[in-house]
């Protein structure tokens, strides 16, 4: 109540003093005039200018400026969002390409390994074949040589037998004077030699 009373009171005072000040200011341009305004009560000219500029500012902001700035912000957020989506889509595509490339590489690698294995097996087979051939030939030659050896040994043995038979026959003829039966001699010589050998 006190403040309201005081306000009303001082408001009228200020009205009066405002009129006085403006009247004096109109007359001379110089140092500040009058005792100054009441520090509490509002002054009419300040109220009018403050209210007017605020209302103009508010209308401008409300109707044009803030919606425009806000729309710009929203559109930029949307474009950033769209860019994000585009980037993630591109990244997914690139990752799919990488996966495809890697699967192709794996396929080719396995194909190469398969071919290598096949070639290796072919070579292996040929090698074993060649080795078998060669060892067969060696065995053949060895058998041939052994046969030759046996033949020559048999020939030599028969020569020795005939020689020993002749010698034995001659020795017996000299010792006994009777020429022995050559068949018996040769058989006994043969027996003696084979017994000795075996």
């Amino acid at each position: 109540m006190l403040t309201a009373f005081v306000n009303i009171n001082s408001f009228s005072q200020v009205r009066v003093s405002f009129d006085a000040v403006s009247a004096e200011t109109g007359s001379e341009e110089g140092a500040p005039v009058g005792p100054g305004p009441n520090p509490i009560s509002p002054e009419m000219k300040e109220l009018v200018w403050g209210a007017g500029s605020f209302i103009v500012f508010l209308i401008l902001m409300r109707l044009f400026l803030v919606p425009k700035v806000r729309k710009g912000m929203a559109s930029r957020y949307e474009s950033i969002q769209a860019d994000h989506e585009y980037a993630s889509a591109t990244r997914d595509g690139a990752q799919a390409d990488v996966a495809r490339y890697e699967s192709a590489v794996a396929e080719i690698r396995s194909e190469a390994a398969r071919r290598l294995e096949a070639a290796r097996q072919t070579l292996d087979k040929e090698r074993t074949e060649k080795i078998a051939q060669v060892s067969a030939r060696i065995a053949e030659q060895r058998a041939q040589a052994e046969a030759e050896v046996a033949a020559s040994r048999a020939a030599a043995q028969s020569q020795i037998v005939s020689a020993v038979t002749a010698v034995t026959t001659r020795a017996t003829q000299i010792a006994v004077g009777v020429s022995p039966d050559s068949a018996v001699v040769s058989r006994s010589v043969q027996q003696a030699m084979e017994g000795k050998r075996s």
Binding site: T3, V6, N9, S10, N38, P39, I40
Partner: protein, 92 residues
């Protein structure tokens, strides 16, 4: 209390303008001193509680800060009304 009674007595006795001004100045200072006590304590309590709340739950700091400023604004209004009353006593 003695000072207050002196001031009130001076204000009551004041008849001429100069004495009235002196009494008004004295009581204005006294009025502001009284008006500042309560809000001072109140703002201290608000900030203390807000700091405690923020320390306990740092994730709620934004909400606590907003509410803290609201509380400070309401409490501080009392001290500022005291300040205005001082000017009123001196000039109105």
């Amino acid at each position: 209390m003695e000072a207050l009674s002196k001031i009130v007595k001076a204000a009551a006795d004041a008849a001429t303008g100069d004495e009235k001004n002196i009494a008004a100045a004295g009581s204005a200072g006294f009025a502001y001193g009284l008006a500042a006590i309560g809000p001072g304590i109140g703002i201290g309590m608000i900030f203390g509680s807000a700091i405690e709340a923020m320390a306990r739950q740092p994730e709620a700091a934004g909400m606590v800060r907003t509410t803290m400023f609201l509380g400070v604004a309401f409490t501080e209004a009392l001290a500022l009304i005291g300040f205005v009353v001082v000017i009123l006593l001196k000039y109105a």
